[in-house]
Amino acid sequence: MKANLKSWAVGLGLLGTAALALAQTAAPEAAAAVAEAAAAAAPVPNKGDTGWMMVSTLLVLMMAVPGLALFYGGLVRSKNMLSVLMQVMVTFSLILVLWFIYGYSLAFTEGNAFVGGFDRLFMRGVWDNVAGTFANAATFSKGVYIPEIVFAAFQATFAGITGALIVGAFAERAKFSAVLLFMALWFTFSYVPVAHMVWFWMGPDAYASKEVVDEMTSKAGLIWQWGALDFAGGTVVHINAAVAGLVGAFMIGKRVGYGRESMAPHSLTLTMVGAALLWVGWFGFNAGSALEANGFAALAFINTMIATAAALLAWCVGEALMRGKASMLGAASGAVAGLVAITPAAGNVGIGGALIIGLIGGFGGLWGVNGLKKLLGADDSLDVFGVHGVCGILGALLTGVFNSPSLGGPGFVADWVTAAMVTPTDFSIGAQTWVQAKAVGLTVLWSAVVSVIAYKVVDLTIGLRVSEEEEREGLDITSHGESAYHG
């Protein structure tokens, strides 16, 4: 948000166009032009908000490393354990670096409806090292800010874990250098624009009067302008990554021996540890996406508990009905399914809605890794699409349903000038769900097109997969020169 230092404050207006409560949207402010006038009135970030956001940032970091790394690592054969840990950890780090060089600027500064600009290249302008002052990033409350550096760091972890999620789809056969080149391309041309489209807006204080509403809204990202709700990244993170993974599973091809040889997980114990770290870390991911330590953060917090527990139970019940036994892997997968499903809805639905979204997410994910997987026929090694794609889409659509005040949801901000919420009579479940579906559709299409091109480029330059001989021996030895286990 541009709103950083200054633009807040002026008049109140009446109704404007409907703008929605997207979480996470914030943007760096712009110009130094107004700096002086602004300096006098620069708002001081609340220490509680700032502290919470730094903790949330660390929680999301913990989700990726070690959470996701262990969750995925336990699911592969022991000869590929280190390669998965490496791909997750190095992908995450690569994207963090790219984020601070240009990703943050292109995602969260003013540009056009698809991508931002270069105002924050190399994090330029986030603080004044001579004056010792720090730029602010807007939240969802007028006059409430957090240091922009904290916002950028928080968002950096989202970008990083999104890339790391893709790794699961082509685990056990992709060339390490190919993974990294793909990640750089995909991050630049899919993650960054989708994040901008969904989350960039000018911030609440930019809506100073009804006269500027149209102008401010027109500066936001395309999907934000549509009014789609995505609290913590159902589209930006999960659907985006899942589609890239599925495309990768198709384009890289199946693992040698797929369907004939045993590819059973080598350590479901580590998978459980990873899933548990993901669950804990996800509170930073979801509740942190409120950008403030307030009631909506609390709502996202409890919804993240309830939906996850419900999905875990649903997956176990589904497995027990299908084959007579509930499995540990099923329970861990159910937890992740619930976490994914509640992500776009976290602060956008009531607690009852979260429970239902969790139950649907649990059964949906179970279908995703069984029926849907057979239909698709791709070797999505660790079911990135089956869990993150299916549950991400279910969560995104159901957010449009359970956001409704008539179903216990909070609704959305209909008028950012007065911060008035939509009235129950004005809320249309059908209309909101249609908007959600459009956001899902554009994300799927965007990520798919970028992924196809990016994989193709990598294949033509350095090649996507290792030789069959290397694959049989295992990537730990052949790609990294070390073994996870001895003896």
Partner: protein
């Protein structure tokens, strides 16, 4: 001298060892092994992927014994390892040509 080899269920190992100690067997060698017999394997399901596990974990014990006690050794292993259910294992008996205790150089029954 005879070499008695038995494949048994892993959780029966302690009972077999106690039974053998009770009749004066001085030592045995134990190896964790996998195999299949009439018990067959089982299937494992990881999300959508089903794998048939043909080889079940078993324990192989080997004991070199004097001809005089070989029948009692067999009885002791049988008694210790039996559950009555399929998969209890088998006992094999071989003639043993020579035994050497490396430390002392003793041979034959002296080395048992």
């Amino acid at each position: 001298m005879k070499l008695v080899t038995a494949i048994i269920k892993p959780f029966k190992l302690d009972e077999v060892r106690e039974a053998l100690s009770g009749i004066g067997v001085q030592g045995i060698t134990v190896t964790e092994v996998k195999g299949f017999g009439r018990q067959k394997g089982h299937t494992e399901l990881y999300r959508g992927a089903e794998y048939v596990v043909d080889f079940l974990p078993k324990v192989k014990i080997e004991a070199a014994v004097d001809d005089a006690i070989v029948d009692r050794v067999i009885e002791a292993i049988e008694a210790g390892a039996r559950t009555g259910k399929i998969g209890d294992g088998k006992i094999f008996v071989y003639d043993l040509q020579q035994v050497v205790r490396i430390r002392t150089g003793e041979t034959g029954t002296e080395a048992l």
